[in-house]
Symmetry: C2
Subunit: 321 residues, 2 copies
Amino acid sequence: MAVYTEVSDEELQAFLREYEIGEMLSLKGIAEGVENSNYVLHTASGYYILTLYEKRVDPADLPFFLGLMEHLAEAGISCPVPIKGRDGSALRELCGRPAAIISFLDGLWPKRIHPWHCQRLGAALAELHLAGESFQIRRDNALSLDGWRGLVDTCEGRADEIEPGLAGLIRQELNFLEANWPSDLPEGVIHADLFPDNVFFVGERLSGVIDFYFACNDFLAYEIAVCLNAWCFESDASTFNATKARMLLQSYQSVRPLSEAELAALPILARGSALRFLLTRLYDILNHPPGAYVTPKDPREYCRKLRFHQLVKGPGAYGLG
Amino acid sequence: MAVYTEVSDEELQAFLREYEIGEMLSLKGIAEGVENSNYVLHTASGYYILTLYEKRVDPADLPFFLGLMEHLAEAGISCPVPIKGRDGSALRELCGRPAAIISFLDGLWPKRIHPWHCQRLGAALAELHLAGESFQIRRDNALSLDGWRGLVDTCEGRADEIEPGLAGLIRQELNFLEANWPSDLPEGVIHADLFPDNVFFVGERLSGVIDFYFACNDFLAYEIAVCLNAWCFESDASTFNATKARMLLQSYQSVRPLSEAELAALPILARGSALRFLLTRLYDILNHPPGAYVTPKDPREYCRKLRFHQLVKGPGAYGLG
């Protein structure tokens, strides 16, 4: 939970003069979110989200992120739409930080995942992948295979502080993935952080997807593997729920069928995805400033998920017939 | 900044079934606020604030607080209105805590105080005092003279850790106040925590007053003294701005004239109010759990304010002719 930057009423008033969204009526900092400062903004024309991009977002990437949201929304995907100012630009500066106003998207993220959530997610994910095909800007995934070695080098020395044997697990897994990572799967724009807190539901309807600030180009099936990890384990990460996985995969395929090569690659992509979140959580917990507002997530959850996928023989383990 | 209790979508859905405010659309935790957990709630009928009362609020006081807001709103004061459920009650339970839904009040609290803010505040405060006259429930001020001795006894031993000589200052001031505190001033319902973050403005209009969870019965002029301290010092608390005080007092008196006795008592009431916030801030900083989300406020700001009022000879120091 975090709001890193306090916006004064005078600064906000000057900022809003660049927009045609009416008089400023209210601004409330949102407690959720760990990367940026987010506010619910109410003006005479309605409710919006005001985001100030903090130091973990590279300003050079913002045209990609904001452009992607606009592109996806135009293609019919329910996601926040950047609001353009009088100058036609959606990106400007507030309190010395890059800032943007985006539309307010209704919905709550599910705290407890039911199979039907995974079913809704699968189709929405496939639609997002199809809609991304025509997006022209490209952004490499800094947190894919090439980026993992740097994280391993940084964290390896202290990994056993978190769990004995963790350094060895990580090193061996990285070696395996580097030797076996696929190279010829369909690529496209992926959200890359499609955890339950970034997917909103109103009742049983998936109402939208938020937080595109890790989006990048990578294998589309890699994103499915991220979702298998984020949505299909029971909450203690000890049990994989094949029903949820089957719902997700069948629903995805009803919109975008997976090739044989993509299906065959799912286990290794799931191992890679597990290692990716294991490594970033490990980095965060080892480099967590004492007294910081944000509680780091437990990397050991992703050790357990990784060990599950290491034993998987084929995509059948994910509920496919 | 704080949200202490996480509300699941399922718990919220069951809670909202007790109301007639339409389908649940969105819930976002608000970062501001240190006593309770607050959320912006969006339903099919509009935007609301959902509050979960955390441990610093005595549940037995909630009928007073919620009843007062309803009473004031009916009397034309712009403040949040408790929303009643199907059973006619505005107070129920969510996640094991007392909880209420109140109306969403537009406005931003002023980060930098201009004299015109004080002018708007004065009249609004007097209107609030008049509107409170007909409120039937009574709640003693636990943080008035009688309560200060207990805080002094608790904090005195460690006060000099914060500022050398602080224990002596506090003890002497308490003795003075106990010997000289007035006893026969007009009483009524006061807000008792009317700091700038509890007063909202839209443009130059005071749009409302929030957070009645310290409200109680006390001298009406004591509340003016609280506001002199909270609104009329420059930000480093070293300079008292008599223009702001004059604006506040004149504007208050345009709605509710102060008696000679009330005016004469302002300096001692201002000393008492300064001691009250000095003591609670001192208590909070001495008992602050390490790693807590909320940063305690500096009690020394109120040492400086107290020392200013100790030198005041009469109400003329507050900008009156």
